[in-house]
């Protein structure tokens, strides 16, 4: 009886006594912070870019995201959502780079495929020693790239979705490193040489086991390792033994440089917000430089490069001269990135790196 009375009470009628149909609760429709704010297509064929979405309330990129959850920037927060764990990098200075949106658009627009964009049919006719050296180099470069893919994707879950430009760019960076991995794996496999000796692994561990923060990971992975890999690619693009080798290296350079651009812009931004950061960053770089130097003391990488550039074991001496220049350029590139980021290393470079800059073919072994 009580239930029947309640049902009758909830029936609504208009002034003429006609039944008024029940309307759904549409109160969600006013849960918007930016109704009416329009993103515009960029002029001159730029299209609708990620950066063009940053208008009105959506352009407000806070210095801190208060919740550890998946709230998209500018969305209306669900009541009581609170923190759900993860996403513990909640500060802008821990991840931001102004260029991230631009680099994402570039990466998407400049995508390519090693399967069809490399003249693989030209990767042939090399003497066995040069082919072996290329396979050795390909093994190491593909391993470097594989580590990078794992590292970026591992950190992605820790970065707040509120800085979506960074997450978008890093998503493309995982593809870029994956492309370098499979590109060099294909190069190693194409003539039957296959995978050879893996790299010494000191730098791989230094990068993978960076628990201090994303910024420190960026310093190791994209200031130092990327500078070495990019310099190797630049020399391969010029001195590679086949057209396929030169093309593969040349096509990979822009991918590497987008990562470097994000890295330097991010560290520069971090330092601009937290002027005390360079102290820790400098100490961190000391350690990573030593890790890279230890890896370079292993002669396998430099010898394989010398054989490639010298066109064979017989030409290794001449090839090693090019390797010395390459290593000098590597350190110069690294120093340039540090300078770009307002993290000058010119007076604090560790001894082994100073030796490379002076033209050594490998850092000296520590004295007993």
């Amino acid at each position: 009886m009580v239930q029947q009375q309640n049902q009758q009470a909830s029936v609504r009628r208009d002034l003429d006594g006609n039944l008024v149909p029940e309307l759904p609760d549409l109160s969600w429709m006013d849960k918007t912070l930016g109704w009416g704010i329009k993103a515009r297509v960029e002029p001159f064929g730029g299209g609708m870019t990620v950066d063009a979405l940053n208008v009105g309330v959506y352009a407000e990129v806070p210095d801190h995201i208060p919740f550890r959850n998946r709230l998209p920037r500018g969305a209306y927060p669900a009541p009581g959502a609170g923190s759900i764990g993860g996403y513990y990098l909640q500060d802008k200075h821990e991840q931001w780079a102004d260029c991230a949106g631009l680099l994402y658009e570039e990466a998407i627009s400049r995508r390519w495929s090693t399967a069809t964009d490399i003249p693989w049919d030209t990767a042939c006719g090399l003497p066995d020693d040069v082919e072996l050296a290329i396979c050795q180099l390909a093994t190491e470069l593909s391993q470097h790239a594989s580590v990078e893919t794992e590292v970026i994707s591992g950190w992605l879950q820790n970065l707040s979705p509120g800085y979506h430009e960074v997450k978008l760019f890093l998503s493309t960076a995982t593809y870029d490193s994956a492309r370098m991995f499979e590109g060099y794996r294909k190069r190693a496999m194409i003539n039957g040489g296959g995978m050879m000796l893996e790299s010494p692994g000191g730098m791989n561990r230094a990068i993978m086991e960076t628990y201090a923060g994303w910024s420190q990971t960026v310093l190791g992975m994209w200031f130092i390792r990327n500078a070495l890999d990019t310099t190797i690619l630049r020399y391969l693009a010029a001195y590679g033994p086949t057209e396929a080798d030169r093309t593969l290296a040349a096509r990979l350079i822009p991918d590497r440089m987008r990562a470097a651009a994000y890295a330097t812009d991010h560290i520069r931004f971090a330092i601009s917000k937290k002027p005390e950061l360079p102290i820790g960053f400098q100490v961190w770089l000391n350690g990573v430089e030593f890790a890279q130097a230890r890896d370079l003391r292993d002669p396998v990488l430099t010898e394989s490069l010398a054989i490639i550039f010298g066109r064979g074991v017989a030409g290794m001496d001449a090839g090693m001269q090019i390797v010395r220049r390459l290593l000098q350029d590597f350190v110069k590139t690294y120093l340039s990135r540090c300078k770009q980021a307002n993290l000058d290393r010119s007076k604090s470079l560790t001894g082994p790196f100073q030796m490379l800059l002076a033209g050594a073919a490998a850092p000296p072994r520590p004295q007993a």
């Binding site: 064929g45 631009l102 627009s109 995508r111 630049r234 020399y235 010029a238 990135r337």
Partner: protein
């Protein structure tokens, strides 16, 4: 087509007109950079704007500071590169922008204000720039001797 003087605004405009329609160039994707090409005492500024190439004009020495980066080569190196492109239809190994950048004591590219971020665009956009200059094979070029 009559021979076009290099370096000149007309020459770079002709190159831009060909390149904008070049499927190879377009496949390399978007870029954003104002580049000044320096040959002798001539400075030609070019705006690579997504897939458009425009605002090609001769500028003074001071305008180099407004560019993202400058590509500077001696007149005989410019000529060597363009002759090689004409001969092969594209730059051969010794004459690519990347090889030329490694060949000399100083790189051929730089940012006048030592902004490494902008200077590095040379590498980020290198395949596009190479495609741009490879199209010089299609332009009848007459070299003038600029005042060094």
């Amino acid at each position: 087509m009559a021979d076009i003087e290099f370096p000149s605004v007309e020459w770079f405009q002709a190159l831009a007109d060909i390149t904008k329609e070049d499927p190879t160039y377009r496949k390399f994707g978007r870029l954003n950079a104002v580049i000044v090409f320096k040959c002798g005492d001539k400075h030609i500024s070019t705006n690579f704007d997504v897939l458009n190439i425009h605002e090609i004009r001769e500028v003074g020495e001071n305008a180099r500071r407004d560019a993202d980066f400058v590509i500077e080569m001696e007149p005989d190196v410019w000529r060597g590169m363009l002759d090689d492109i004409k001969k092969n239809g594209h730059a051969s190994l010794d004459w690519t922008l990347n090889t030329l950048d490694l060949r000399f004591d100083e790189p051929i590219h730089r940012n006048e204000l030592q902004d490494g971020f902008k200077a590095d665009m040379f590498f980020r956009y290198n395949p596009s720039l190479q495609a741009f200059f490879d199209n010089a094979a299609k332009i009848p070029t007459k070299f003038v001797a600029p005042v060094a």
